[in-house]
Symmetry: C2
Subunit: 343 residues, 2 copies
């Protein structure tokens, strides 16, 4: 937080209750009563105050009110990238639960940077948000210990925290991955590649785990070359796809570890003549309209976001208690790309 946004131009100050009181010729507390609809104000006084409010264009400063009250009626939501469809679906769900509780929402994107995550989370805390929902980018969250210790509810979403005990809401990553890979195996594939995100991410590791478990359960080996993790940009995914399909140990099917990667894989495959089988983790809009249709293990971002927000507000009501960990099921959606056999 660096530059002062108001550095240049000074805006004329907004009228305060004090100003309203002066114009109406009443005490400050009477203005407060009228503004807050408290009873016990004579109609005449109330009228004078109302007119002064109109005249001055007064609107209560909630930041000041909340400072006095000791609450902020806001929560912070820290995403990986608000521009990603998965993140934005989470946001919508969280926002709607927050609205039920009269809370405003601060949102921010970490862009997979642990530093940025920390900076934003602490900025939210410094504003004294009532709670924090974090899709973690970093691996160490001890920096949140003082806030957690003094009762700030924190829910980790999509990935768990590793160095701090907190409520957590996850997809069934390993289970979903097992389902996806078992599905490919059932269709005759024995050589299956896994394309993952950054390998230190919990989601990536768990989906890789599920992949390995499904392979092992079928008695299939996993060649080291078949596991390709890293950034999710198009170029890197395209290179990984090529390596998997044209390398020394070519695979006949691909399991893609998240929706960014799936998009990259689809683009890479569109430029090739062959049609390896593909199952993606997380659904994509229009996935059902591709030909062949995109077979996925769908997450339920609405359920993930809603659950995280509900946990948060429950904590807010009932205070500390045993840490909870909720796993939201995934669902295999069969549409075409996952049902072609090995050629």
């Amino acid at each position: 937080m660096s530059t002062d946004p108001t550095a240049g131009h000074r805006t004329p100050p907004r009228p305060t209750m004090k100003d309203v009181a002066a114009v109406a010729g009443v005490g400050l507390k009477t203005v407060s009563r009228v503004v807050n609809g408290e009873p016990g104000v004579s109609p005449e006084m109330a009228g004078r105050v109302q007119r002064a409010i109109q005249q001055l264009g007064f609107r209560r400063n909630d930041s000041a009110r909340l400072l006095r009250t000791g609450t902020t009626a806001s929560i912070g939501l820290l995403l990986e990238d608000i521009g990603d469809p998965f993140s934005s679906a989470l946001s919508r769900a969280v926002e709607s639960v927050a609205a039920e509780h009269g809370c405003l929402l601060f949102t921010g994107s970490s862009a997979q940077s642990a530093d940025r995550e920390r900076e934003l989370a602490l900025a939210f805390c410094a504003r004294r948000v009532e709670g924090l929902i974090i899709v973690p980018a970093g691996r160490d969250h001890r920096y949140l210990q003082p806030e957690a210790g003094s009762g700030l509810p924190i829910v980790f979403l999509d990935r768990p925290a590793e160095t701090i005990a907190a409520d957590t809401v996850l997809s069934d990553n390993a289970g979903g991955a097992r389902t996806a890979v078992a599905h490919l195996i059932r269709h005759g594939h024995r050589r299956i590649g896994f394309l993952g995100d950054l390998p230190h991410l919990h989601t990536c590791r768990q989906r890789e785990r599920g992949y390995r478990e499904a392979m092992a359960a079928a008695g299939l080996p996993v060649e080291p070359d078949w596991v390709r993790t890293g950034p999710t940009d198009r170029a890197r995914v395209a290179a990984a796809v090529q390596r998997l399909l044209d390398g020394p140990e070519p695979v006949t099917a691909l399991f893609s570890g998240n929706n960014r990667i799936t998009v990259g894989v689809l683009h890479a495959l569109a430029a090739r003549p062959d049609r390896p089988a593909l199952v993606g983790f997380d659904d994509l809009e229009l996935g059902d309209l591709l030909r062949p249709g995109l077979t996925v293990v769908a997450q339920d971002p609405a359920e993930l976001g809603t659950t995280a927000a509900r946990l948060l507000f429950e904590r807010l009501r009932h205070g500390p208690g045993p840490v909870r960990r909720v796993e939201v099921p995934t669902r295999l959606i069969v549409r075409g790309t996952g049902e072609t056999g090995p050629s």
Copy 2:
């Protein structure tokens, strides 16, 4: 804004500068100096304060600081639906400009409800955000007059305000629509249907205008039945598509007014044997991977969001001035659905 989120459980109060001062045995102002890195504190004093901060887990309350300072270092972004890809692309752009200015972002979704928009906008104002970016759902924004009058910068994004003068950033809606429809006409279509959003929305009206202008420019009539506006849910769009294609005056091509509608149209068409031409307003992820590829007039949400945020911060620096209206160009992307002739 109804229930008090802290109603249930009382969290232990966080330590304040006063507490730190007491523990360190120094004055309040000395703590303030250390916390803010101001010069002129003896190393010994500074050390005592640092230790007390560590011991207590103190973190400055920015809400209090900002109240005293008179700024809030935050802006409000009011979208139609943060879960929509267009909205979330806008968010990402706005967020990144806000971050450059050290501002946090409140976000909220109006869900096309004018009441909800007003409620959220006023809630943001009550928190004294430094500026407001609004994708308007309602048609009357006079409720913002007091805030605008006292210097709050407001930028309307995607659609203009009708009853208040404010900076505005729009796509070239009519121009983009003309381009789309002229493209269909160039491919031999003479009977073209328009599917729009709610007809009171500026975007819908302008895109319809562009559609009519392109038809008129080619000397083509527009049958009343060819213009179908309304909610963007799947069922309604499917019904509109059917009406356009199977009604008394069937069309051979469709121009879809936004990305929600385009998705609905694609689904409706997937269930039919015929293949009318289609051009969509606003692009969709995977649109390029459909077969045939989806021809669209693409908007530039990153540019829209960035421009709106830049306008906002410029206002913040330089204060009032003539209202500005920026139009962001659209771009025809030819991929397949728009290039089939009438059957």
